[in-house]
Amino acid sequence: MLFALIKKELLALIRDVHGLVALFLMPVLFIIIMSLALKDVYSPAVKTLPYVVDNRDNGQLANTLLTEWEKRHGKPQANITNWSNEVKSGKLSYALVIEKDFSKAIAAEKLTGEIQARLITDPGLDGSVFAANKAELNMIASELRAQVLLTSSLMAQFPPRAYRKAPDLPVTVSANSLVDAERLAAGSRPTSVQQNVPAWLVFGMFFVVASLANLFLQERQCGALARLASLGVPTSMMIWSKALPYLAINGLQAALMLAVGVWLMPLLGGDALSLVGIHWGALMLVLLAVSMAAIGLALALASLVRTHAQASAVGPTVNILMAAIGGVMVPKFVMPEFMQRLAEFSPMNWGLEGMLAVLLRGSDMVGVLLPAAKLMGFATLMIIIAVLFFRRRAH
């Protein structure tokens, strides 16, 4: 009897293609994607970040520091005069600025306290990467200073007259007071909340896919959609009647998630999400574009799938894969180069970039136009697919 029941269970499993996809293909895809995405996580991403050098000092020591930096971080991008905008928009991760008196200051016995080397970073740069880069710059500068001072000290042991009294003076070896790092002014503070809310908000908004697809299937299977069609309800009206409520739901999701960030997180002891100084129009535009893309995808999937099993398997799978690829689950900056390129094909990544631009970089409408346009284009394509299949499936 047990054998017969086990056989029944196995046959049921084997014949449930979508269940098998969820059981086997999902984890396989996840292993592949996450392994590739996290490939470089233990070899710090600081090495591969795109940066630019602004050297205002022509001294030898400045060049030595830059050579050392280049050894550790690769070559800088070609001369970009207007690097400020590039850094602010996140296209460059940081600019390494060497002030004109760097060489003089680093070799001076007495430090002036003026900053001579600074990292100016993308406002959205990950906190650990920011700290690591700053520490590394400090270390290289201090090493350089130590070498210079040591050379001076050795020379003092076999002195020409002028240096005879030098070693008696107190000398600070650390170049800490000469080095600094700062995020390019954005109006809001980069915290984990500031980074996490956009990511999970975009992820959550895309989850209307499963809900919409299942409801659509229910209507289709019971014949309600065919009945509406036979009553002369146009396809466009059926599509809009589905899209508009979910647009409102996405709006509520956004309001709720932002409210959690602004008000609930501080109550729980976390950082507060700051919306001070953000461009509200740009935020609305990005949210609308994300919502349209999510609803478009939901409508297309709902029109393409045939069964609840398909909807239940395909919807969440597509969402999770888009999130894994798109930088929601694994920050894009820790991914290897080709995964970062791949991320740029994920609509969730477009949404995330748009949200980060508004919340971290203080972008205005123009600043979010590209991700918003990509999302709207994606939404249009999906809605075209939905319309093409909708009528056929409605019947």
Partner: protein, 306 residues
């Protein structure tokens, strides 16, 4: 009112047509019973009338106007009550009626009036605020019908409207359908229950393999049927009796009894005389024409369908 001429339809990627030269008509105030086994082409025919399928070959017209034009001008002239429960289970009875009334273009006082009338017609007033998913099978059927009636259609297609309901609900639904026809609507009623068709249809069409096999009033169809003799005989071995009866027509064994579909020119008197000649003792005999079910089975053959 409805006239279909030489309608043929072939689904994509299939060679065998689902409909092959179907012609029929339906009149106001009449119920047309549409009979056919599974896969006969009933659903394809209904799909044409409800606008789901476009005409590939042949003509369908409503009062002389091509169906597509008639549907475009007034899609609610034709209503379909499909076999499925084609409504929203999570909505109440009233909410469902409101939704489909609006979809059918009703609004304001007219909408409220029609919802009230349809609730009353289907005797669903007591359940107006009950979610559709909590209704019994019979009540769901009544809601399905009520939704179809909202826009006051002139032609109503009822696809097996009594499947899975208790006898009381069935009787109610049959009376309701008769009332619709009496009020002037043309009704096309498909069912697998022959006694329902016999009880309410003015005309019957039997369809199979996409073709109309019979079209006529119930009397015409039954008179057209083959005469048969059903008998039980003792004193003759079965094989001998089968050979003897076979001379008079096709023979079928039903338990201990035999049924002979008389061939043209053969009479029951001659058959009984022949049986007595070989020493048979007649225990029971019955003579008559086919009922609708027998005619249906004869025409569509007895092989099981998909």
């Amino acid at each position: 009112m409805l006239l279909i001429r030489n309608l043929s339809y072939c689904y994509p990627h299939t060679e065998k047509p689902a409909l092959a030269g179907v012609s029929l008509n339906a009149e106001r105030g009449q119920i047309l019973g549409l009979l056919g086994p599974n896969g006969a082409g009933k659903t394809t025919l209904i799909s044409h009338l409800s606008g789901i399928l476009q005409v590939q070959q042949g003509d369908i017209s409503i009062d002389g106007v091509p169906l597509a034009v008639a549907r475009h001008n007034s899609p609610t002239r034709i209503a379909v009550a499909p076999q499925e429960y084609a409504f929203y289970p999570m909505l109440t009875v009233t909410e469902n009626l409101e939704c489909f009334a609006a979809a059918g273009g009703l609004g304001g006082d007219r909408k409220r009036q029609r919802i009230g009338e349809c609730l009353a017609f289907s005797q669903l007033e007591r359940f107006a605020q009950v979610r559709a998913e909590r209704l019994s099978g019979g009540l769901k059927r009544r809601l399905n019908l009520a939704i179809a009636l909202l826009p006051e259609p002139e032609l109503i297609l009822l696809d097996e409207p009594t499947v899975g309901v208790d006898p009381q609900s069935r009787a109610f639904l049959l009376d309701a359908v008769k009332t619709l026809a009496n009020n002037g609507a043309a009704v096309i009623y498909t069912s697998h229950y022959m006694e329902e068709i016999e009880a309410i249809a003015n005309r019957v069409i039997i369809i199979d393999d996409g073709k109309v096999l019979r079209d006529g009033t119930l009397n015409e169809l039954l008179n057209d049927g083959v005469a048969h003799v059903r008998l039980a005989v003792e004193g003759v071995i079965a094989t001998q009796l089968r050979v003897l009866l076979g001379r008079f027509g096709s023979v079928e064994s039903i338990g201990e009894e035999w049924r002979v579909m008389l061939a043209p020119g053969q009479t029951p008197t001659a058959l009984l005389a022949a049986e007595e000649e070989v020493g048979g003792r007649l225990r029971h005999a019955e003579f008559g024409r086919n009922n609708l079910e027998q005619l249906f089975m004869t025409l569509t053959r007895r092989s099981l369908r998909d």
